[in-house]
């Protein structure tokens, strides 16, 4: 209970943040995207962290979510809230289908197989023009602002929705980590044969994790579509922009921990924005170069992520406090 208090304080302070930022400005967009990516990295963390299966194909589910809600809204006028649920179902289904052949793979092989799956989805979205609009993308139509229609004049509600999403996904992650499924996933990660022999249904547990993770990422795809208003296959099914970025966020922050993806997102997304802001006018590619150098330095400095810095800081603090 003692730990809940600072947590609640952080959530409330973050909720107040959009009120301080210019509602039409640039930074509230950065905040919204940061919260969204933190939530995505947290959903990825269920598979990438607890099961230790480094998926590089999560853009597939993200794109499925973005397209499902937007197509339903465009063609049938269905509220994105319902579209989000439909996208979650489809995303979970896609995760189920891809998990069956890839589940037995480990390490690099798993990463490559999932990477390929993400690419397949991007190609399909580019080709299936009648449904997705093809390479020219989709625009989310303007509807009169209301919560039920998931339409707002300003960005503030989007930031709050992203925050709520982050809190929910983090709560789900924590519940899994502490619950029976977390124990089973950790067992599978360390020794799958031993886990089976002591009664862990390794196939089923891995499938469950994949489906939960895929469904959550797909639902977050709807949030992205509503914020971005316009998107195309190369954005939402992007390897670098989505799949690798969310993996990177979780890894930089500290994989397998609840705080890791949040720390990672609040480091990487604003850093990227600042680099672009400062350096993109100087020379082409300079911002990416500097961004890359910073990332490499961080990985070398803290291979297990930022979370270890906080851990040792806390240890040092408690040592100085207690006599």
């Amino acid at each position: 209970m003692k730990r809940c208090l600072p947590l609640a304080a952080v959530i409330v302070l973050t909720a107040l943040l959009p009120l301080l930022l210019d509602p039409r400005g640039y930074w509230i967009r950065v905040l919204t995207i940061t919260l969204l990516f933190a939530a995505m990295a947290q959903a990825w963390n269920i598979v990438g962290g607890l099961a230790n299966q480094t998926s590089l194909g999560h853009a597939a589910f993200f794109g499925i979510g973005a397209y499902t809600s937007t197509v339903l809204l465009l063609k049938f006028g269905i509220s994105p809230w319902l579209g989000m649920v439909a996208g979650g179902v489809l995303g979970g289904l896609a995760a189920f289908v891809i998990a069956i052949p890839t589940m037995r793979l480990q390490g690099h092989y798993f990463a490559l197989a999932t990477l390929a799956f993400g690419e397949v989805m991007r190609v399909i979205a580019n080709v299936w023009t009648s449904l997705t609009g093809g390479p020219s993308g989709l625009s989310v139509p303007f509807v009169p602002p209301s919560f039920a229609a998931y339409s707002f004049k300003l960005l503030r509600p989007h930031a709050w929705i992203a925050l709520v999403a982050l809190v929910i996904v983090t709560a789900i992650f924590e519940a899994i980590r502490r619950g029976a499924m977390g124990y089973r996933l950790r067992a599978i990660k360390q020794n799958a044969a031993a886990a089976e022999v002591i009664g862990v249904d390794t196939t089923r547990v891995k499938l469950q994790a994949a489906v939960i993770s895929g469904a959550l990422i797909a639902m977050l795809g709807t949030l992205y579509a509503q914020v971005a208003v316009f998107f195309d296959p190369d954005t939402v099914f992007s390897i670098a922009g989505i799949s690798i970025r969310i993996a990177l966020i979780a890894i930089i922050g500290g994989v397998g921990t609840a705080a890791g993806p949040i720390l990672g997102a609040f480091f990487i997304i604003p850093l990227e924005e600042i680099m672009n802001d400062l350096l993109s006018s100087r020379a082409a590619g300079l911002s990416q170069l500097v961004f890359g150098i910073i990332l490499i330095s961080v990985i070398l400095w803290q291979p297990r992520g930022f979370i270890t810095v906080f851990g040792s800081l806390r240890a040092r603090l408690s040592r100085t406090v207690s006599p």
Partner: protein
């Protein structure tokens, strides 16, 4: 009353006949030793019984239920599990979490934790419950492995060299534990290289050689069996005396 029935189980790996028409049955509450020279198929036999390896032919029946095609976790839930010869702990997890995970087979997390602590008590490791499993000594890790298997509440428990690398006092403790498990109604199959220990604790001994069941009898019968002496004890009498 028969709890485990193994009928003509064979398994070939490439050119190696690892198990060849192995046939035996075990009664409830028996302690059965499985001995044989290295490569005789002891570990393969255990892996086949729990479903890690599919037999090419033959059937395994546990408590009247045919195990054909069942995965290890199903076999575990039906009441048979094994320990691993080389110790296969979840090394980064705590000792308690290792054992707790097995308890989840029949319990929720909280009840499984209680069960896990009981199992750790039984192997005398409650004191190290919160240590990381990978940091323990080899004999301790073998006992964690035993506690973890116990926590699945097995009817039939297969122990693959849990006494390797133990000193005499530790070995005596494990033998005491094996007997007390039998008193609780657990049936045990024990692979062990240490002859005195296995002759001492087992009601019956199976001798494997080149994947074949060479002998099946009481320790006295087996020790006198000329085939066994030739195949196994004869060649390693010095080792057996140790």
């Amino acid at each position: 009353m028969t709890i485990l029935d193994v009928r003509a189980v064979s398994r070939r790996f490439g050119g190696l006949q690892a198990l060849s028409e192995v046939m035996f049955s075990v009664s409830r509450g028996e302690i059965v030793g499985v001995i044989g020279p290295n490569g005789a198929g002891k570990t393969t036999l255990f892996s086949t019984l729990v479903g890690l390896i599919r037999p090419d032919s033959g059937t395994v029946t546990l408590d009247g239920r045919d195990l054909a095609g069942l995965k290890p976790h199903r076999v575990a839930s039906l009441g048979m599990t094994k320990t691993f010869q080389n110790v296969a702990l979840f090394a980064e997890s705590s000792v308690l979490d290792n054992v707790l995970t097995a308890g989840l087979l029949h319990h929720g997390v909280d009840a499984a934790r209680g069960e896990a602590l009981n199992c750790l008590d039984r192997v005398g490791l409650r004191g190290v419950a919160h240590k990381q499993a990978g940091n323990l000594s080899f004999p301790e890790r073998a006992r964690v492995e035993l506690a973890r298997a116990l926590c699945t509440a097995p009817k039939v428990l297969l122990l693959d060299e849990v006494m390797a690398a133990l000193n005499h006092a530790e070995m005596a403790e494990i033998m005491q534990l094996i007997r007390s498990l039998r008193d609780d109604g657990v049936t045990l199959l024990v692979v062990e290289h240490h002859m005195r220990a296995i002759m001492n604790v087992c009601d019956r001994i199976l001798v494997l050689n080149f994947g074949r069941l060479l002998a099946d009898g009481t320790p006295e019968q087996v020790a006198r069996d000329p085939l066994v002496i030739e195949a196994y004890l004869g060649r390693s009498r010095e080792a057996a005396r140790r």
